[in-house]
């Protein structure tokens, strides 16, 4: 089973690479190169804050776009092109197929994020001429971004298992946007009363808490990130992804392939 999932994951990764999905890294590098002269005109302290904010936000945006738009086509493209038929006519379970696809895209995003992070650290070294202990803290923010991508891929897979690619993209994007405001919604639920409180609270737990995964501003200002938050976020992202992937498997396992 592991070998089959691994083969599907590797094929998904290879497809993403050959479809030039990773070309966004080039755009990222160009963005850093283009913004460097502007940042150079600002004082050293602010320069670092801006570089961290700009780079991590770019990693986040590129990653979320790939997670959603590649994620929604992971299964639908295979059904539409009927490339799935020779796969599922072999001793491959539908759950294995979904898991392999998920892991393949996750691997693509890990490579993408690692490459961008290397680019970011290079840019920072060129600009600051040195690394400090606080720079290592930024890796936590990068790790949280990866967790965010894992959650978004799960959502994209879940929606694409029962909906059209266009609607899946809309749903996944909506969930992503709502997820970034999850903390506000929870705060609102805390203050509300009656059915309103119940409704707001339910929605706030249903949507992914992506706000908790965004520590870009904090790391850019050298603020401390606790080990407890790292643990909580890791567990939360893994559980949330597991639930969405299981949902996708459950729906896909009952689906007729047209």
């Amino acid at each position: 089973m592991t070998r089959r999932i691994g083969a599907i994951a590797f094929n998904t990764f290879r497809e993403a690479v050959r479809d030039r999905v990773l070309y966004n890294i080039v755009f990222f590098v160009l963005l850093l190169v283009a913004s460097a002269p502007l940042l150079g005109k600002i004082s050293a302290g602010v320069q670092r804050v801006l570089l961290v904010n700009l780079s991590l936000s770019a990693i986040s945006i590129f990653g979320v776009i790939i997670s959603i738009f590649v994620g929604i086509s992971l299964v639908s493209k295979e059904i539409e092109r009927r490339t799935l038929y020779p796969v599922l006519s072999r001793p491959v379970g539908r759950g294995e197929f979904i898991l392999g696809k998920y892991m393949g895209l996750a691997a693509t995003l890990i490579v993408n994020t690692v490459a961008m992070s290397v680019g970011f650290y290079l840019a920072m070294f060129i600009m600051m001429r040195q690394f400090t202990g606080a720079d290592a803290n930024i890796l936590i923010a990068v790790y949280f971004l990866l967790l965010e991508f894992l959650v978004v891929i799960g959502l994209a897979l879940l929606f694409s298992s029962f909906s059209t690619p266009l609607l899946s993209a809309i749903f996944a994007l909506s969930m992503f946007v709502a997820g970034t405001f999850a903390a506000d919604l929870r705060e609102f639920a805390r203050m509300a009363h009656g059915p309103q409180r119940w409704l707001a609270s339910s929605i706030s737990y249903l949507i992914p808490n992506l706000a908790s995964l965004n520590v870009i501003t904090r790391v850019s200002h050298d603020q401390f990130i606790s080990a407890a938050l790292v643990g909580y976020n890791s567990l939360y992202a893994m559980l949330y992804s597991a639930v969405t992937v299981c949902g996708a498997i459950l729906i896909f396992s009952r689906k007729d392939l047209k």
Partner: protein
């Protein structure tokens, strides 16, 4: 043990969003395929052939009924290791080369790395793609993709091979090659279950055929018996008009085209007709059996279905 046993497969599709309608894809299909035989699944477009194959491959789920492949439940994943499938007009990952694609499918079928390395080049040679192993599939013609499709279907040396319209869209040379390939699989003792609407292919390849129309099974039979049942008339062509009048006592319709005359006679009267031509000094051009083709049987079954 039977290679394939379909026990009452039914498939109903629900169409429409607001006003849902039921569309019957397959009506209670019962079918048995013996091991080692080439079984043709005939029917016009929309007859339910692909639906049956998709049901057997677990790509869609039956509304009712079940099946056994090599004695086991058709949903059992272990069964799939012994089954090969070529979908209709196959499309593969076009970013891959045939070597990469077959390696991927081989892994999914549970083949070890040494097995894949040994089998894939040989198989590519067998399907006529020996020099194309490292070319991306996006550069392949339809005929070449069909060859890749056949290669992936037999890569893991399955006991039963399902082929959905394997000759569809191929030129005469391609069709001939696929036909030869199917015959070679038969010689290896594999069971082949293939759907087609090209009757000459079915007649040349199949031991038995089933005719499907409107989602319903119309008939099953041994090809040699079906064709001999309808046999019994011969077409005669000769040169020389002297035999024309006396021949009309043996055959009702005689068609004259220039110096040539053509007619058909019943098998019982064939010898008399040949003797007559000899006595009239006519030059015999050809004697050929007519009718009795699978096409007759097929059209007869479709006709019954329409009545």
């Amino acid at each position: 043990m039977l290679a394939v046993e379909i026990l009452g497969f039914e498939k109903t599709y629900t169409t429409g969003f607001w006003r849902k309608q039921q569309k019957i894809g397959l009506k209670s299909l019962h079918l048995e395929v013996q091991q080692g035989e080439v079984f043709g699944f005939l029917g016009p477009n929309g007859a339910g052939k692909t639906t049956t194959l998709k049901l057997l491959m677990g790509l869609i789920f039956p509304t009712a009924g079940h099946a056994r492949i090599l004695g086991k439940d058709w949903r059992d994943p272990a069964v799939r290791a012994g089954v090969g499938f070529l979908p209709e007009q196959p499309y593969f990952y076009d970013h891959l080369t045939p070597l990469e694609l077959l390696d991927y499918y081989g892994t999914l079928s549970g083949l070890s790395l040494p097995d894949r390395r040994a089998r894939i080049p040989k198989l590519l040679e067998r399907v006529g793609l020996a020099g194309q192993g490292r070319v991306q599939l996006r550069k392949f013609s339809k005929g070449m993709l069909q060859r890749v499709g056949i290669a992936q279907a037999v890569l893991h040396e399955p006991a039963v091979v399902f082929l959905d319209e394997p000759m569809s869209g191929l030129d005469p040379v391609g069709r001939r090659e696929v036909r030869d390939f199917i015959q070679s699989l038969k010689r290896e003792g594999k069971t082949i279950f293939f759907s087609t609407h090209i009757l000459s292919d079915a007649e040349a390849l199949c031991d038995r055929v089933a005719v499907l129309s409107g989602g319903e099974l119309r008939g099953v039979g041994v090809v040699s018996e079906l064709t001999s049942e309808n046999r019994g008339r011969f077409e005669l062509i000769w040169q020389g008009s002297a035999a024309l009048q006396p021949m009309k006592t043996l055959a009702a319709d005689c068609h004259v085209a220039g110096e040539y005359v053509r007619t058909t006679v019943e098998e019982a009267r064939l010898q008399d007709a040949l003797d007559l031509l000899k006595t009239q000094h006519a030059k015999l051009i050809s004697v050929n059996p007519v009718g009795g083709s699978l096409e007759d049987y097929f059209l007869e079954k479709l006709g019954e279905a329409r009545r």
